[in-house]
């Protein structure tokens, strides 16, 4: 009986106040879409880091024949210098951090370049224009700086380069995008709270007569206030569901279908990731509505 009464009141309230309810649905929809997008970008960053950091190498570039760098003033790196560098990597203080070392001679570098680049460009270059390098794989990619410090100053080393630097720019961009999405989400969420507050207040005022009588005949405060709270919660949850649905379609059609076919070598976020964050979106929506209702109801349905 009470449940039926509560749900009946919620339904009536939503119907009577349908434009306000719709606006709550839409505002929560938009704000939670931003929240979800921010979460998905972070998930994507996590996936890429797991994926790529395992594969990245530290490249120790050796002095080429002609170098403008100061530490290569003595000319090309000699086999003795190369051996000394290899010793440091394999047996020196950083050996524990190094998983494997591969040597790429300048001839190999030229071949690789030829294979990758336009052959028209390669024909102007010779193996002497390329430089030899050690490709170092680390057991823990985040320890790059230690390895770099150990090799940087050695004779015959021109430059130590961490491939992660290339990705870091991408990650910096994605992190900035996350911040933008989160910032917009925060503003929208605030709007949602204010809007839910107004909606609950309007609803409570429009049913003042009922609540006055309910108070008078001794109905519990829960029964008086719950329908209003649920009204806000139902509208907000509908918005959260829409947001989850929107994100799912976005990921499915924009990322999985379109982006994957144009840039295929990346492991993108999937519909499953959206499903993983969807419950959180609903929790946020419900929490917001409860918070906004509590903020308002105390004043408008005094016991």
């Amino acid at each position: 009986m009470r449940l039926r009464f509560i749900f009946g009141e919620v339904f009536n309230g939503l119907r009577r106040n349908s434009t306000m309810a719709l606006s709550v649905v839409l505002v929560t929809f938009v704000s939670l879409t931003f929240v979800g997008a921010a979460a998905l970008i972070q998930t994507q960053i996590g996936q890429l880091q797991d994926d790529w950091y395992g594969q990245v190498e530290v490249s120790v570039f050796l002095c080429p024949v002609q170098s403008v760098e100061e530490q290569c003033a003595q000319g090309e790196a000699t086999p003795a210098q190369e051996q000394a560098i290899l010793d440091v990597l394999e047996n020196g203080s950083v050996a524990a951090l190094v998983e494997s070392v591969e040597y790429e001679s300048k001839e190999e570098a030229y071949e690789n370049f030829e294979a990758r680049a336009d052959s028209s460009l390669a024909q102007y270059l010779t193996a002497d224009d390329m430089q030899a390098s050690f490709r170092v794989k680390l057991t823990d990619p985040s320890q790059f700086q230690v390895v770099a410090d150990a090799t940087q100053g050695l004779p015959g080393v021109e430059e130590v380069q961490d491939q992660r630097e290339i990705f870091d720019q991408l990650f910096a961009f994605l992190n900035a995008a996350t911040l933008v999405a989160a910032g917009l989400a925060a503003v929208m969420l605030l709007t949602a709270v204010l809007l839910i507050t107004t909606t609950v207040r309007l609803s409570a005022l429009s049913r003042k007569r009922e609540t006055t009588i309910m108070r008078m005949v001794g109905s519990s405060r829960t029964l008086i206030q719950l329908p209003f709270m649920l009204e806000g919660a139902v509208a907000a949850t509908a918005g959260a569901l829409l947001a989850a649905l929107g994100l799912w379609f976005g990921v499915q059609y924009l990322v999985q279908d379109w982006l994957s076919s144009s840039v295929g070598w990346v492991d993108y976020v999937s519909g499953d990731d959206v499903l993983a964050i969807a419950p959180w979106l609903i929790v946020i929506a419900f929490g917001l509505a409860a918070f906004a209702s509590l903020l308002t109801l105390g004043r408008y349905t005094r016991a």
Binding site: M1, R209, M216, V217, G218, R221, A303
Partner: protein, 230 residues
């Protein structure tokens, strides 16, 4: 049933008290008129009993409860023991007669079966049998007040508070309402009625409590409205 001990109520600091040192006891089954001009403290008196207001001083006991110590979440239980009727009826305009009465039971969690058996009985008692499906605006003022009384009494509370129940009704209709209240009183219900209607008070010859400027100036059995006419 209702006991006030040295009760005072001051609404804002420095203002004249709305009630000042009131001592009163109303027994179970009493029928009491509360009279006095506007601003004499009648409404405050009723609000204290309903615990819509709390006394500034003194103690209020209603239906075995010490209201000064009653916690907020127990207030609904107190209100279930008190039926309240007002001058302006306070019916829900979009509900039928039947729904208006059953609403009072619904919102205190009564089951459908109990509602279905109690409501027709109550409408019969107030003389509205056959009008269950009418809307409030289709009823006369007297009939609307009967619906309000049915709603207040449907839960069989031991106390019925009436705040000028005949204030909006013509004398003939008022007599009908008073007969109904008298009948309810005979079932053992304590009735406390605030009123300005001297004819009714004079006719009924019940206990009269008179307030003036927040003071109790008369408490008389089988009294009449004004002292000067006694």
């Amino acid at each position: 049933m209702i006991r006030l001990e040295n009760v005072s109520k001051v609404y804002s600091r420095g203002a004249r008290p709305a009630l000042d040192g009131i001592d009163i006891e109303i027994e179970r089954g009493d029928f009491v008129f509360l009279v006095g001009s506007s601003g004499s403290g009648k409404s405050t008196f009723l609000k204290l009993i309903l615990r819509e207001e709390r006394p500034t001083g003194g103690d209020v006991y209603v239906a075995g409860r010490h209201l000064n110590k009653l916690s907020a979440w127990r207030v609904p239980h107190l209100r279930r023991e008190i039926g309240a009727v007002f001058q302006d009826f306070r019916l829900l305009p979009n509900k039928t007669v039947y729904q208006n009465v059953s609403f009072a039971l619904q919102v205190i969690g009564k089951g459908r079966r109990e509602i279905d058996s109690t409501v027709p009985e109550m409408l019969e008692l107030v003389g509205l049998a056959g009008k269950e499906r009418r809307m409030p605006h289709e009823l006369s003022g007297g009939e609307q007040q009967r619906v309000a009384i049915a709603r207040a009494f449907v839960n069989r509370p031991p106390i019925l508070l009436c705040d000028e129940p005949t204030g909006n009704l013509d004398p003939g209709t008022s007599v009908g309402i008073m007969r109904l209240l008298d009948r309810i009183n005979r079932t053992g219900t304590t009735v406390l009625m605030a009123t300005h209607d001297d004819e009714i008070v004079d006719q009924m010859r019940k206990r009269v409590i008179e307030l003036k400027g927040g003071h109790l100036v008369r408490d008389q059995d089988r009294g009449v409205y004004g002292l000067e006419r006694a």
